[in-house]
Symmetry: C2
Subunit: 252 residues, 2 copies
């Protein structure tokens, strides 16, 4: 069994904890966090603590903390023998531990949402093939989607994720606001949202683009811009519509 | 049985044809289209034709044509006794037929994609309660999600749909392009896309917004803008990030 210490107690820590406890290849033996409060989710099932000096010996230290404190934490772990892997999409492979790796689960995590870990893509990188082998074994015991992604690629993947997840959610938010202002239940849009996400699992997004900007339907675009009362929404509508019409050789 | 004539032979016509043929309350007795070519999908199972004068008598004429020709077609149907309903999100309830209605299925349709008609929202409007009753009976025989939506609300719904469907798909497209430029398989992003769409079925979008702009993470936003080589993508990134950070009281 791969013995794992988790550093951090946020959403990613919580879900990786669940996933590893369900794996046949690994077990979490300890969870560390600098503050006590969020450890309460873990302390029923595993030893926990707030003092980095008290962390037990393990095969793998999974650093699940905010991007800007990752490198500081890993520097403090320079003397451990086990692998030190962080889980951040936007942080490069570090060098300060003896064995360095990245164990990046590409998913949006909330503590309250149950996830099927089996299809979460794990994007892995390590500073030696032996280290890579161990984290790959762990990742494969959790998920069917395991990828070797280097630091440069991971930066691009993180940027793509901002578009397809963060910005997409903001499109949903604007849709929700327009519905609310017009006494329309937002749930009417949900089958459309689901189908839009589903479509691109079998088609390239550029092959299934639809809408007034794609068609170069100047009248509808003009009427939508007149309808929008929020100047920020108007600006977003214009910027994206111009980009779409340009891509498909139309003029608005 | 409600006897239906379909006018038009595009994606919406094709899917409504399938849905009605599977319904216990209605049957398509004829499909009309101005050009012969696209009628081939229908002519194996139902009479078809290109001459508006040859359309048989029916209870309901479903006008599934492009937005800009809807009103012209309906004017040509001014003398029929049955209900004339169009299926367009952005066209108002017409007045030129004897019985006017709107039968708007809020979904993105491609001929090649199979759909579960049972959860497609049907947004209905009519110029009399008797007419409304008949189209409601048909809609309920196809789907569990049937709504009374007036012309003003439908305009807003259509605008919302542009954000949550057309603009979202363009976010997927940008994500795909960034992946392609960096030799990353786009399928890595698909579980994230699915989960982002799934999350808002149980949470309001504004409650589950995540990402660097939401956190006011100036460093990551700056580094993403430097990474982006396409000036249109840069502009979209800035515009949406500024809108998100403003909404959550952060400064970029």
């Amino acid at each position: 069994m791969i013995k794992v210490v988790i550093i951090g107690a946020g959403n990613v820590a919580w879900h990786l904890f669940q996933a590893i406890q369900n794996s046949n290849e690994a077990e979490v033996i300890y969870v560390h966090n600098r503050s006590l409060s969020t450890l309460s989710d873990f302390e029923k099932t595993v030893p926990t603590g707030t003092d980095l000096a008290e962390i037990p010996t393990a095969d793998l230290y999974l650093v699940c903390v905010k991007d800007d404190v990752v490198s500081g934490i890993i520097e403090n772990l320079h003397s451990v023998n086990g692998i030190v892997a962080h889980t951040s999409g936007s942080v490069s492979l570090q060098k300060s531990a003896q064995k360095n790796a990245v164990f990046y689960p590409l998913q949006t995590f909330s503590k309250t949402t149950k996830l099927n870990y089996n299809n979460i893509p794990f994007c892995l990188e390590a500073d030696s093939s032996e280290t890579f082998g161990l984290i790959e074994k762990l990742a494969k015991s959790i998920s069917e989607n395991v990828y070797h992604i280097d630091s440069e690629q991971r930066k691009s993947l993180h940027l793509s994720a901002v578009f397809v997840c963060n910005f997409t959610n903001f499109m949903y938010d604007i849709g929700h606001q327009i519905c609310k202002e017009n006494q329309i239940p937002f749930e009417i849009l949900q089958p459309l949202i689901a189908e839009t996400a589903q479509k691109i699992t079998i088609n390239l997004p550029e092959k299934v683009q639809t809408g007034p900007a794609k068609r170069g339907d100047v009248q509808t675009v003009k009427s939508h811009l007149e309808q929008l009362t929020n100047s920020t929404h108007k600006e977003i509508y214009s910027t994206i519509s111009n980009a779409i019409s340009e891509k498909y050789g139309k003029k608005l």
